[in-house]
Symmetry: C2
Subunit: 387 residues, 2 copies
Amino acid sequence: MEKIAIVGVGNTKIGEWYENSLRGLTDIAISKALESANIEPKEIESTFIGSMSSGIFNQQEHISALIGPHSGVYAPALRVESACASGSQALRVAMMAIGAGYYDTALVIGVEKMTDLIDIGDITTALGTASDSSWELGVGATFPALFALMMRAHMHKYGSTLEEFASVAVKNHDNGSLNPDAQFRKKVTMDTVMNSRVIADPIRLFDCSPVSDGAAAVIVTTESLAKKYTDDPVYIAGTGAGTDHIALHQRPDITTMESTKRAVKTAFDMAKIKTKDVDFIEVHDCFTIAEVITLEDIGFCKKGQGGKFSLEGETALNSKISVNPSGGLKAKGHPVGATGIYQVIEVFHQLRNEAGKRQVTNNNIGVTHNIGGSGATCVVNVFSRGD
Amino acid sequence: MEKIAIVGVGNTKIGEWYENSLRGLTDIAISKALESANIEPKEIESTFIGSMSSGIFNQQEHISALIGPHSGVYAPALRVESACASGSQALRVAMMAIGAGYYDTALVIGVEKMTDLIDIGDITTALGTASDSSWELGVGATFPALFALMMRAHMHKYGSTLEEFASVAVKNHDNGSLNPDAQFRKKVTMDTVMNSRVIADPIRLFDCSPVSDGAAAVIVTTESLAKKYTDDPVYIAGTGAGTDHIALHQRPDITTMESTKRAVKTAFDMAKIKTKDVDFIEVHDCFTIAEVITLEDIGFCKKGQGGKFSLEGETALNSKISVNPSGGLKAKGHPVGATGIYQVIEVFHQLRNEAGKRQVTNNNIGVTHNIGGSGATCVVNVFSRGD
């Protein structure tokens, strides 16, 4: 199978875009991506959009028809949804479409405009539709509560500490302070994190990623066409997805994510790599516990040691394994359905030595890890320069 | 490229399933489809789900993780959305995934559980999110209103008559009366249709498809594996999709659908057929005007003559071209995101001579035509027995 290449990217800064709209934000991302690849809208043969809940956030379904034509792209379009993993799933579908020969060149977009809802309770409820609505959200278990259960279970089973979890937030804010597109560009101290107010015990405010708006777009094409658009294409060497039970109570162990293990195995096998070959990774740190569990599930450290591994600085920029050089969901921000594409764009820039002050020095293999819900969906993609 | 085969199908009856749930309905459809193909859940390698708005109808996004595991299918899953064309888009994505070699065998589901919303105003608003929410729904133009504009424009431009439109509803109720899975199994007279109450002038109640619940599932696999599961596989000979501006005011002519023309050209070219080769077709008659426009856009009759063509009986069962032998959206029902898969299942049964009293006698080539919104999205698929 011919490899798929990324030849251009574009995105908005992540933030609270009260003065802009879903279609306005995507227009910015699409324009930048087209310019980046030096490609005309008419050369785009298909569009794939990842978005979690434009229906609830913006009272707008069918954004596949809203977005492309608004930006002058009239190619056949569809939306892909798997909660917060929607962006990465959209990229996978684009790879499938090109791999099967339906199209040569596609536009892949991730977008979420969350601040059209003003009330934080409404936003939390909207996000909660990615859990089991009847058996979790419906009985009051919002996402902070669900991840609090996972964090408490992890502390109980492995003796992990609040300090260890806090170190994830501190590191990601350190990295975010170097990212001009990040929502939060302030460093924070361990003290600030550990003394922030309790959201759902043991999760505190600084264990949580924020409410964010953002749109991100990438142009993908075949290996043979890639050099037409850029001298430095980035190749998708492997992709994998995993699905597990949506509700926590259906899983035998809530201190691990089976979907991550499944996605990693498929993606790494396809890319012919092992965990030790990964130079840097963007992981889905919607809450600090999620980054800790992921470090363990991918095998960067032993099971139960993810927090210690983080506290010891092994995941800092240009340490043992650079985790979330972008600042992650915690500091860069988390426009849910767009996050997967933002992760890809970070890897794209890192592999091309375009990441400025947060550039990783070992940059041959970059990976993205994007989950939906409390981990019922996971998508892992592996990227390289192909040389 | 190897052809994709459908080897098993299953669905619920369409209706108002107040006593069941989204996951309950899909469980019925999946169980029947697995049994139909005599396949074990573990043989399913991926699941693709079409649903328009489970977020608004059921306060449940992320149904890709909800549905599969609930029915014992743990394969990687994702949801595809293009409003009422979601089901057909999900089938296209499954074809891409298999065509690119990611999987050999997939489960494709369409589901919509609309009656979790009780108030008809809430349902109409939910459906309106498939239009331009800011510039159509937001100013009160719900779907009956948008299609009323198209119908009035068609009457003005071509002199089509209310009687002609009514003939579409009468014919589809005739066919639906022969379909045990249809929501409405009563024949209706021209008089009943033309004297039903006005919804949005000139659209009357019997010009509209109903609010419906339903789930439908098909098992797809490669040509080489198909005979393992059934002696009579149905093959997808061609597929095409088109995207146009979402809002009516952005289109130069609202008496035609550019998306239909684009989808038909791609699908028919891929299948190497012309319009005259089509033996029967399931078209997207969300309102009677939609069927009339589609007859013209596909070329079964001259532009502007779709209503006359219908009134003259040319689209009745086993006449010149059998249109909506299932009863169509009008009589069979319209569980929006599921409709595309119900269309496929009708074609599957017709091609295999399993359609009972509504069996079409010329049954070599069957086509499905599925639109999203007021026609901004269209998906057309062509099916044959492959012999």
